[in-house]
Symmetry: C2
Subunit: 362 residues, 2 copies
């Protein structure tokens, strides 16, 4: 590859588009003629206003958000959202429904319960080691919101279609699949995504909040834990993570202008996932770990015959410039994370390697 | 200047050492032979472990911290600390003392009061528009901690010597002057600093916490708001702001290896501040805004005859490649922020310009 780079299948922080990285590098000492690095400009400058406003505008265009949605950039990652969501929306005995589809859902549930909120876990796939997405869920009529995790990075599952909640706002953790395809935003009250998988680097979380949910936010919360603080200041209540927001802006620009929007993005992502799953399914050597219809388009998890072989697979892959293929430490096995910035070329190189490795070891 | 850069007197985000920026640029597409950008590597990788451990080790060496201190890197800036400090340390009617020396102290006090904590403002310089640092303060015997703000970025004041609290742990916001000089850490229970002024970019806050303060932290706090969460995970409970921590590491390395430590750093900082204050005091044209013995070494605030002249000063300075000299919007006037990375050459160029501007307009 160019510049001695490798094919990066990291689960997050993850690959970024090469053209974005090159643009950052080339202007790193002098951003937009300012004579300063992007890391040195004021968050109150016109230059930075242009960046954050462009990032918001592109998010709205890409997801077809109308004016009832606010796009925010917060710190603390998805983990901070696990805490802020119940804190902002569940006052005085109000309850919400949660669906448990894996590690991140479990953490979101734990944080809500820790605050003493009477939330209800209405469905879970824990019975089969989170290898599927539950169906036909019945939601509580009095739930303030329904919380789901859109894609399970660790177990490799993803909602193909979001559940029907009969008007109860969906709150969704989209950290590992936001902007991977178009979707209908109407049922959503709040969408959040740690940027470090599909849209940027670590250190910033995109939050999209629907206007009416702000009515639930109590006055007496700490300023930094209150969604209304960031809505009323365009995410500039205090110094935001400027550089991370800048990368998001560039990645969204790349999706719009280089890729050609979310329909095109989905087309590429489906092609990549299809190729990888086909290589697994055709082999008899690699084994997928999730139910077919719950398979993730972003994180492709698979096992080999034994752990020794898996270790060797990951090692030899790296020697062939294919990095980040080790499964999450909590589950083992192998995983190829193929987010937006992972190219089809990268996946083709990986599947070629997989076939060669199979021939030698099958 | 090299690479069409300007002299940057921004108050934060602010100037970074040119050699640090060059190193980031040069390795931006391939960090330490990984074949990945620093923005693409995993926070669970050995590469990143080396970065964060080096940043911690350098902080400990520079500030002479022994093992009872933990060095953490959190998100949310100093503003999040305003909320976390009372939340972690003031349970069940416990109280703390706060000293109000300006905008940031006022915000810290507001956030503690918002949580219903019975804190006491034991001294304030609000009577003279925060133009001085209070002296001879009497602290409450039952205070769990005493909170002060080390340097007032907006008003241009700084504690020359920290107050004697007779064993009550000091908690200090050092966002705008950490690492500007050596100081005795013994009286401190917690030191925090948003990085974007003296040690890095926006998006990360350094927190140094003394072991015994962890005993005060209640179990039932949200994980992301609890200091113990980050102590027990070396700041890796969830994905940290990797790139911002990397810049801190490089800046601390620059302080240790290029500058030669905090004694040398102080020598340079004092020289810069002396030169600038002398230019102001000798002029009769520029007027300092703070009491002499409370003057900040980091943020030099001054006024000109009227606002029209101030606007012209800032504008003409920028035309001469001297940026960021406008005072904070809440106070007006002019301000030169001369943090660690602002060179003596930059200050000499500024004082030359000030003399020329005075000759033309005085």
């Amino acid at each position: 590859m160019k510049e001695n780079r490798i094919y990066n299948f990291n689960a997050g922080p993850a690959a970024l588009p090469l053209s974005v990285l090159e643009e950052i590098r080339d202007s790193f000492l002098n951003f937009a003629g300012s004579g300063m690095s992007i890391t040195e400009i004021s968050h109150r400058s016109k230059s930075f206003d242009d960046i954050i406003n462009d990032a918001v505008a592109r998010t709205k265009r890409l997801l077809k958000l109308d004016d009832k949605f606010h796009v925010l950039f917060l710190q603390g990652g998805a983990s901070m959202q696990f805490c802020m969501i119940p804190m902002n929306f569940l006052q005085e005995g109000k309850s919400a429904d949660y669906v448990n589809t894996g590690t991140w859902s479990t953490k979101a549930i734990k944080e809500a319960k820790l605050q003493g909120k009477p939330i209800k876990v209405v469905a879970s796939s824990e019975d089969k080691n989170f290898s599927y997405i539950p169906k036909n869920i019945e939601f509580s009529k009095d739930a303030v919101y329904v919380h789901i995790t859109s894609n399970n990075t660790i177990k490799g599952t993803q909602w193909a279609n979001f559940p029907e909640t009969n008007g109860i706002p969906l709150i969704i953790d989209m950290s590992s699949d936001i902007m991977c395809k178009p979707f209908d935003v109407e049922p959503f009250g709040l969408i959040y995504a740690g940027a470090q998988k599909n849209i940027g680097p670590a250190g910033v979380c995109m939050v999209i909040i629907r206007e009416d949910l702000l009515n639930l936010v109590p006055d007496n919360l700490p300023a930094m834990l209150k969604y209304s603080t960031f809505v009323s200041t365009n995410s500039l209540f205090n110094t935001p993570p400027c550089f991370a927001i800048y990368i998001i802006q560039l990645v969204l620009k790349w999706i719009e202008e280089t890729i050609g929007g979310l329909d095109k993005m989905e087309e590429i992502n489906r092609k990549k996932a299809r190729l990888l799953y086909k290589t697994i399914d055709d082999s008899g050597f690699y084994k997928g770990t999730t139910e077919l219809e719950s398979r993730s388009m972003m994180n492709i998890t698979f096992r080999l015959l034994d752990e020794e072989l898996e270790t060797r697979f990951v090692q030899e892959a790296l020697e062939n410039d294919l990095g980040g293929l080790k499964g999450h430490s909590s589950v083992g096995g192998c995983r190829a994370s193929i987010y937006n910035a992972t190219t089809l070329e990268a996946v083709e190189t990986l599947t070629d390697f997989m076939k060669t490795f199979e021939r030698k070891n099958g």
